[in-house]
C-alpha cells in the first residue's frame, strides 16, 4: 500500500484541471515512476494525487498543422523510441529516452514526468533543450506555450501554476528540418543508472556538407537544471566542418557550463567528461548529417 491520502482520477484534460483547482494540495501522478518511488521513501507520503495516467488523449506523436512535431506528455519512453515520426525527424530523442532506466521503466515513464520533475539528469531534457522544444501547458486560463528553457525555473521547480498540467511537448518545424543529432549519456552502468553527465548535440550542414550552418548543444547535470551552451554554439556557427573547429567547439564548453561536485562525480571530472562528450557528439552529428571531419 502506498501512503496516499486520496486519489482523484481525471477523465479528460478539463477534468484534470478542475480536480487540480478543487484540490490545490494534490500532486499530479502520470506514470508514477518518480512519485511512487518518493512515496515509498516517505517523501511525498500522505499526499492527495490527481491521476492523469488514464488520459489517452495525451498519448502519442503527431504533426501540428504548421509541421511541428507534437509529443503528448503521457507518451511513454518506449513509444517515443518506437514512433515512426520520431525515427524519421528527431531520431536522437528516441535514442536518448531509450537510455532511461531499464525496459520496464521505459514502458511506464512519460516524457511529461521526465520534464515536470525539473531534474537536471533527465535523459530527455538535454535533447529537448537542444532542439528548441516548446512546452504546452493547459490550465484554468486555457492553453499557453513556452520555450523549454523558460519552463525550468530552478532544480526541481518548473513553471506550472496552480491548476496547470503539461499537455504536450512540441518541436517546431524550423527546429528539426535539416538537423541531425546525437546524445551521449555518461553513467557508471549501461542500464538502470542516472547520468553523471548527458550531452546532446545537433548540426545543420550546408548543401555541400562543408559548413556548419547551425550547431546546437545542451547538457544535463552541467548545472542545476538542463542548459544550452550558447557560447559554445556561437564559437563555431557558420564555420567549416573541420577537426580544428570540432576541437574549438569542445574547448569552448568550459566557459558555458557550471557542474558541481556530487557523490556521483567531482566537478573536475564532469568538466572533463563534458568536453569529451561535446567533441564525440558533434563528430557523430556531422557524420549523420553526411559531412566528413578531416584529419
Amino acid at each position: 500500500m502506498y501512503d496516499i491520502k486520496a486519489l482523484y482520477e481525471a477523465e479528460s484534460v478539463e477534468h484534470a484541471v478542475a480536480l487540480l483547482v478543487e484540490h490545490p494540495e494534490a500532486q499530479i501522478i502520470a506514470g508514477g515512476s518518480d512519485i511512487l518511488v518518493k512515496m515509498r521513501e516517505g517523501k511525498c507520503a500522505g499526499k492527495e494525487l490527481v491521476s492523469i495516467y488514464g488520459l489517452d488523449e495525451m498519448r502519442g506523436v503527431s504533426f501540428e498543422a504548421d509541421g511541428a512535431i507534437r509529443i503528448g506528455s503521457l507518451t511513454s519512453f518506449s513509444h517515443i523510441t518506437g514512433d515512426p515520426i520520431i525515427q524519421e525527424h528527431i531520431r536522437v530523442l528516441g535514442e536518448a529516452v531509450d537510455m532511461v532506466g531499464g525496459p520496464q521503466i521505459r514502458n511506464i515513464g512519460t516524457i511529461g514526468g521526465n520534464t515536470c520533475n525539473g531534474v537536471t539528469s533527465a535523459d530527455s531534457a538535454s535533447t529537448l533543450f537542444a532542439w528548441d522544444a516548446v512546452v504546452e501547458i493547459t490550465g484554468p486560463e486555457g492553453v499557453r506555450r513556452i520555450p523549454i528553457q523558460d519552463f525550468y525555473i530552478r532544480a526541481g521547480v518548473v513553471d506550472l501554476k496552480p491548476g496547470e498540467l503539461q499537455t504536450a511537448i512540441l518541436i517546431p518545424k524550423k527546429a528539426y528540418e535539416g538537423y541531425q543529432g546525437h546524445y551521449m549519456k555518461y553513467a557508471m552502468r549501461n542500464a538502470m543508472d542516472i547520468a553523471t553527465t548527458g550531452c546532446s548535440v545537433n548540426v545543420k550542414l550546408s548543401e555541400d556538407k562543408k559548413v556548419m550552418e547551425d550547431v546546437r548543444i545542451a547538457y544535463g547535470v552541467a548545472g542545476p537544471v538542463p542548459m544550452r551552451a550558447s557560447g559554445t554554439e556561437a564559437a563555431v556557427k557558420g564555420r567549416t566542418v573541420s577537426g580544428e573547429n570540432v576541437k574549438t567547439f569542445a574547448g569552448a564548453v568550459l566557459e558555458d557550463i557550471r557542474p558541481r561536485d556530487s557523490f556521483r562525480a567531482s566537478k573536475e571530472f564532469r568538466q572533463h567528461i563534458a568536453v569529451v562528450l561535446a567533441e564525440r557528439a558533434l563528430r557523430e552529428s556531422i557524420r549523420l548529417a553526411g559531412g566528413e571531419v578531416d584529419e
Binding site: M1, Y53, G101, N107
Partner: protein, 167 residues
C-alpha cells in the same frame, strides 16, 4: 480520511475478474493479496529489481510502481498464466530449469516475464539486444549467464532454429 475503494475489472491470465480495490494498493498488492498470484514478488518495491514484473496489454511493467486502479479494463498476464491448460509449464520455464537458471528462485518469475515480452515479439534479437531487454531484472544468485542462455535458447527454438540454440 475514510478508506477509499474502487471497483476494478480486468482480465487476469485470460479470466475476466472484478474486485473492490483499495486505491492505495499497488498492482503487486492487488495481484498477491486479492488474487493470490504469488509469483508476483515483492522485492525492492521501487522499480529497480524486476521481481514484480507482469505483462499489461502486451508490455512488461514493474507492478510495484503501478497503481492497482490503473488495471481497470487491462489485460494482465502473470507467470501463472504461462502454464498450459493441463497445468504443465511453458517452454521458457523448462529452459530455465534445463539451463540451471534458477537458484533461490526469487527473481525467476520476474525474469521469465521479461523473457516472455521478448519471446512475444517473435523475432530474433542479437545477444546485446537480449541483454538490454533483460536489464531491468536483478539476480543475486546465478550470475545471469544461465538466464541469458535459457532466454536465447527458447527464442531460437520458437523461431525453429533449434540447432543454433546449442550454445
Amino acid at each position: 480520511m475514510s478508506r477509499q475503494y474502487k471497483l476494478v475489472s480486468c482480465t487476469i491470465n485470460g479470466k475476466q475478474v472484478e474486485k473492490m480495490v483499495d486505491v492505495r494498493a499497488s498492482l503487486t498488492d492487488m495481484l498477491r493479496d486479492d488474487y493470490r498470484l504469488t509469483s508476483v514478488k515483492r522485492g525492492c518495491e521501487v522499480g529497480e529489481c524486476g521481481a514484480c514484473n507482469v505483462i499489461i496489454d502486451g508490455e512488461c511493467f514493474n507492478s510495484c510502481i503501478y497503481l492497482a486502479v490503473w488495471a481497470q479494463g487491462k489485460e494482465i498476464l502473470t507467470l501463472e498464466g504461462l502454464a498450459g491448460p493441463d497445468g504443465g509449464i511453458s517452454d521458457i520455464q523448462q529452459a530455465f530449469i534445463d539451463e540451471a537458471a534458477v537458484q533461490c528462485g526469487f527473481c525467476t518469475p520476474g525474469f521469465i516475464m521479461s523473457a516472455a515480452a521478448i519471446l512475444e515479439a517473435k523475432r530474433e534479437f542479437t545477444d546485446d539486444e537480449i541483454r538490454k531487454r533483460m536489464s531491468g531484472n536483478l539476480c543475486r544468485c546465478t550470475g545471469y549467464e544461465n538466464i541469458f542462455r535459457a532466454v536465447k535458447k527458447t527464442m531460437l527454438q520458437r523461431l525453429g532454429k533449434e540447432k543454433e540454440g546449442i550454445l
